[in-house]
């Protein structure tokens, strides 16, 4: 398939503007460009960041995303360094077209720098730009929303990255759980773990290996804080294990080992990234049976791909919420030991 070509059809920017002025500029750009008449948007994407550098990074990801997933994208910089600044918004607007195989689809990108108290009322800024009848997804690349954030009332779904937040400290998983109970959440960290979950699940396909899932002795999960708790919580809940049978250990790379006994035979099922190579090795070792191994390349993980994957889903991810609840149970059990 041809690589899409993204061209800018028109742009506009101004400081200290009203929402109405930005809307008018956007409408003007679209009406003066015939190609902009064709639009197949599936959502309004709102990225909220705190600095210009974060905004640039978010816009780069959205550009990559736009090539495959047209949406109206708003990047909002809620400028934090001048809390007492008067209310004000600077805006830049781009109307772009993606051309692939002779077809062009238009999408829009808005960058809004919001100062003053308006930072706490982003919903009032976002709503006028929301496309009708399509979901609004709020993406927080480096944070979790504070309780009562009115923007969350306007959102149909929120995309977070618990790993990015975890790096900043705090009990992220508990906060994520509380958020997920209020609103459908897509956690990019959880999405990155999907290949691990799918490969581990795959080791138990087939009538020979499946019974081992009913007799799990012990599970060991290694990895960074977020991934190991999420995977541990997932296994705890899916396999209905007591917390004492799930061992978590810090490590640079993820590995999961499931030890089980079925029909009097011991079995070890392992998926692991062993080193710097972007490879996952899976291994089945059943007593008296052949030892099987498979090495696969890890899925490409660039941020736009995880985000794009998050945007294709709707509704609550119950398995994720279950994994979060399991992760909390593991934390509590650790505290009690």
């Amino acid at each position: 398939m041809e690589e899409p070509v993204v061209t800018t059809l028109g742009s506009w920017e101004a400081d200290d503007v009203t929402v109405a002025q930005v809307e008018a500029a956007l409408s003007d750009l679209r009406h003066h460009e015939q190609r902009a008449a064709v639009r197949t948007s599936v959502l309004t994407l709102v990225a909220v960041v705190k600095t210009d550098a974060e905004a640039d990074a978010a816009r780069a990801i959205i550009d990559e995303l736009g090539g495959r997933h047209p949406s109206r994208a708003l990047v909002i910089v809620a400028v934090d360094d001048e809390p007492d600044a008067p209310n004000g918004t600077d805006a830049a607007v781009w109307v772009r077209a993606i051309e692939r195989e002779g077809r062009a689809v238009c999408f829009e990108q808005l960058l809004l720098r919001v100062r003053g108290k308006a930072r706490h009322h982003l919903d009032s800024i976002v709503e006028p730009f929301a496309l009708p009848d399509v979901p609004m997804v709020v993406w927080l690349p480096a944070g979790l929303p504070s309780p009562g954030d009115p923007l969350m009332q306007a959102a149909n779904r929120v995309v977070v990255d618990s790993r990015a937040v975890a790096e900043a400290g705090g009990d992220v998983l508990t906060r994520s759980l509380s958020l997920a109970r209020r609103l459908p959440v897509a956690d990019l960290s959880w999405m990155r773990l999907e290949q691990w979950r799918s490969m581990l699940a795959g080791l138990f396909e087939g009538a020979l290996n499946r019974p081992f899932l009913q007799a799990v002795d012990r599970v060991e999960v290694c990895g960074n804080h977020g991934p190991r708790y999420l995977l541990g919580g997932w296994l705890l809940r899916r396999l209905e294990l007591p917390a004492s049978r799930v061992e978590l250990r810090p490590a640079e790379h993820v590995s999961v080992d499931v030890h089980a006994v079925s029909g009097g035979r011991r079995g070890r099922f392992r998926v692991a990234r062993d080193g710097a190579e972007r490879e996952i090795r899976s291994c089945v070792d059943i007593e008296g049976g052949p030892q099987l191994e498979q090495t696969v390349r890890m899925r490409q993980q660039w941020p736009s791909l995880a985000l794009a994957s998050a945007l294709t889903r709707v509704g609550h991810d119950e398995i994720y919420e279950e994994a979060l609840a399991g992760a909390r149970e593991l934390r509590q059990a650790e505290g009690g030991r």
């Binding site: 495959r68 795959g202 396909e205 087939g206 009538a207």
Partner: protein, 508 residues
Amino acid sequence: MENPLAEATVERVAPPAVLVVFGASGDLTSRKLMPAVENLALRRLLPPGFSVVGVARTDFDDEQFFESMRQAVEKAGGGGEEARHVWESFAQGGFRYVAGDYGDPETFKRLKDVLDEIDATRGTAQNRLIYLATPPSTFPTVIQGLAQCGLNRPANDNAFVRIVIEKPYGRDTRSAEKLDAVVHEVFEEPQVYRIDHYLGKETVQNVLALRFANAIFEPIWNRRYVNHVQITVAEQLGVGHRGGFYESAGALRDIVQNHVLQVLALTLMEPPSTFDPNGIRDEKVKALRAVDILSPEEVAQNVVRAQYRAGWVQGTEVHSYRDEEGVDPHSQTETYVAMRLKVDNWRWAGVPFYVRTGKYLPKRVTEVAMEFNRVPHLPFAMSQAEGLDPDALVLRIQPDEGITLRFGAKVPGQAFRVRSVSMDFFYGAAFLEETPEAYERLLLDALLGDPTLFIRADEVAQAWRIVQPVLDGFEEGDLPLARYEAGTWGPPEADHLLDRDGRRWRKP
């Protein structure tokens, strides 16, 4: 027992199994099946130990077979650094080869030994997916050979043996019934996966989503609103190097009996109550059963067959069919068929279905176009609505997958003039996912034991029931063979078929 870890994972990994390919040195294996295996492995959907055993007459050993498959996949656009692990992993005994004649029982004994060895060393648990990628004439021989060695039945309650059978499934009603008898003597129907790769196309499945997930289309999907339906499966290519095969098939057997009738069935069918394999297939069979059988006289009036002459296709001069390699210079084989079909049921009575397929048409396109009745009264002067065609809904299956809705709109200005406009939706513009190739999807479904997108015996029988009178008409010489210039939309006779009804073919 379910796999609690597999729940809510987006894609399900196949169980440990051996894929046994008969016709392993053939074109289908190297162009379609092996690239599909590589892609499934790249998507991490094959388990450790998954193995391929090729069976064919060509004198390969395991290593030569492995190497030839690796190179074939590379030639088909796969391989490379990204797939290095996949092939390294397969190199550890994952590709085996049995050379032999399909008529020789020794071939199957050797196959059985190899399969037993793989089960012991690679944990494939006696699960087998047998794929017949051989010429149809060999199907009975291979099937009987499998049975003689007990390779047709699972070794225990936990294991599976499934057989995938490529089209064409028979040459006519009688031969299809005969083949079915051979198959059913050896395999139970739930073990049989008759493949029509068209059903593996994401956009063919999208016809089901469009019809049964939307409340706005279904109420108008009937005789009350639909004036007629046109189904086009146009190919831009000629017969190429398949002339020899094509001489004994023709467009009716090669495309109409399977692809066209499958698309027709999805268009005609009633909403299934469940989306399980039999829910959908039961409705497809009911739909095909409602298609009226043409009498010999009706065949003469409602079917056009034609063959391409030399012409120009996309700026390239091409030969006449009769000058193609492997084709009889006086060949009477059709490369184009157009038909007018009637459907006798409550929903479609009186609505004609025009179907057409051909080689060397101006472009590759598959679509279902539904033209609606005009409004009962037009409150404008005729001159005001000169540019107004009937409303139409077009489901484009390939290549620009999507939907077009044609309707009337006012031309801006002081005068009140109405003309038709088209609103296009492109499937690829709204969805991120890269769609898996049809063979990839269907191979995985067969490994997972999901027959929804495979064709059941009664569906095949219904399809032949519709096609048989037309074949008889061809063979008895009742229907003259028209000629069309390559690169055009078919012969004038096909236009007359619609002219008579006051209609014309769409230009897709």
